[in-house]
Symmetry: C2
Amino acid sequence: MKAMTIPATGEPSVLTLAELDQPTPGDHDLLIEVHASGLNPVDTKLRSGKFRAPVTFPLVPGFDVSGRVVGIGPEVTRFRPGDAVFASPPLFKPAAHAEYVLVDERLAARKPECLSHVEAAAIPLALLTAWELLYDMAHVSEGQTVLIHAAAGGVGHFAVQLAKARGCVVLGTASSDESFALLDTLGVDHTINYKSEDVEARVMQITEGQGCDAVFDLVGAEVFKASIPLVATRGCLGTIVGIPADAELNPLFLKSASLHAEFMGSTAMNGGTPAHQGGILKQAKAMVEAGTLKPHVSQTFPLEDLAAAHELQASGTATGKLVIKLRD
Amino acid sequence: MKAMTIPATGEPSVLTLAELDQPTPGDHDLLIEVHASGLNPVDTKLRSGKFRAPVTFPLVPGFDVSGRVVGIGPEVTRFRPGDAVFASPPLFKPAAHAEYVLVDERLAARKPECLSHVEAAAIPLALLTAWELLYDMAHVSEGQTVLIHAAAGGVGHFAVQLAKARGCVVLGTASSDESFALLDTLGVDHTINYKSEDVEARVMQITEGQGCDAVFDLVGAEVFKASIPLVATRGCLGTIVGIPADAELNPLFLKSASLHAEFMGSTAMNGGTPAHQGGILKQAKAMVEAGTLKPHVSQTFPLEDLAAAHELQASGTATGKLVIKLRD
């Protein structure tokens, strides 16, 4: 089968089209014919060597898949060949920028029928990240004020929709006209241009000096540090990037605040049960079909152009998601 | 009225018995005749200068009270003179190591009838701390494994009972025979002697290598840092002391873990609504009356011996709570 591989860390040009053996399903695996596979920051971090955990090269990236089941392991009970499914293939195994990928059936869910494979492939990793952060960790609830940095990004645009679905008042930062247009469509209550406005002043004006019940930093580093004063007493700060070593966290203690450090790959990395994430995707499918969740794909690429997709992903300028399309 | 005051930071000997004016209730205040008032680490931190937020001296410490309402402000609706109440008087105002104290009615709850004033005065600040940390922030739930450091201490023995009430499997550390006897009474599932045992090895053996769903550091500094490896994937670490500046928090991110920094004075410090804490005490009263929550008072002192109580509190060797008794 054809697969794009990262033979070693480097620039996007290191990405190499290779011919690999089609994999054989393990006991609980689905063999999925890949129709589309999304891109995420983890792809460019693995390629550039900025990923925080040890990995072995060469590797096949692509941690979102939507496709069709064409083979199953002997213990598989929930899916049959022919089923259309979507999932986030685990880190540390050959992933979905390839013609075929193996995914444990417990990680997978049926594809929402109203979505194309390209749209469904935009969901898994970013939605799981937003869901685990906002629902499992921060428990966002009705009436809370929620600030989402980079609200029009891959994780951001799902975070906005999850917060709105729970009845939160959502503040979102962005900078491009295209991003603000998306945020308007998603019903963000207050948009803030982080390039031209004083974010802290706007947040304090909107929240009448209280700060936000939840602040989600989807950018990292200086944005994390600048987020600390924006958290309300008994509020929380969430990150999907990590906690900067030089961040002064004592102000969070004096506000009795929580810090949530979400890494959706932690379960796979630490040998945890995959059923939790499969269950989230099943709930996401229901939200999509109910019209309360919709992925935004800003651009698709053929598998052979993965390097161009990496360039755009790494630029941080794309709204929503970039998706590799292999088949209709 | 008589009151013990801290005229300036220093040794326990700085504590001074003074004659102060009886205070006059503001709109929402109860004037409480103090029957008993508990001691907490915040008292010794204020006195020794180790408190993290700015305070003004002289001050009257004592942030737990059980007593009788003898006067009310014009806006008070829920209590009448004669009512027996308990509460945690707010930081940054004259507190309860005195014959009378003012408390906003929204912070107060009716004293559990089955408890003496001494027992009721052992509850507020420590119970509120444990409740906010375990229930509001960590959302401990049935079947979770919960490790509580210093489980026989003031906050610890309430944390144990709150975790047990939610159906958690509780691991508790302690070192003295008296502490282990208390932990047995409270139904701790696994006790660990942190002086004679390898805490990490015991925790990993008990949890089959997974770590605990929630680890509560009620000690600080080195105990905080040693707690990080004990947290399970998607678990949490809670502190009531603060986050050491030199703690390496990245392992929490790779486990997708949360960090909860509880400071029960944050609401008072930041001008938040007092009704939340009054509501918790009302629920605590119901648990006491249902037999699922019981304060442990290891020693009482007369007001004049507050310095001796401070010495014992600061030693860290007392189990449960120390209480100043002013009246029967």
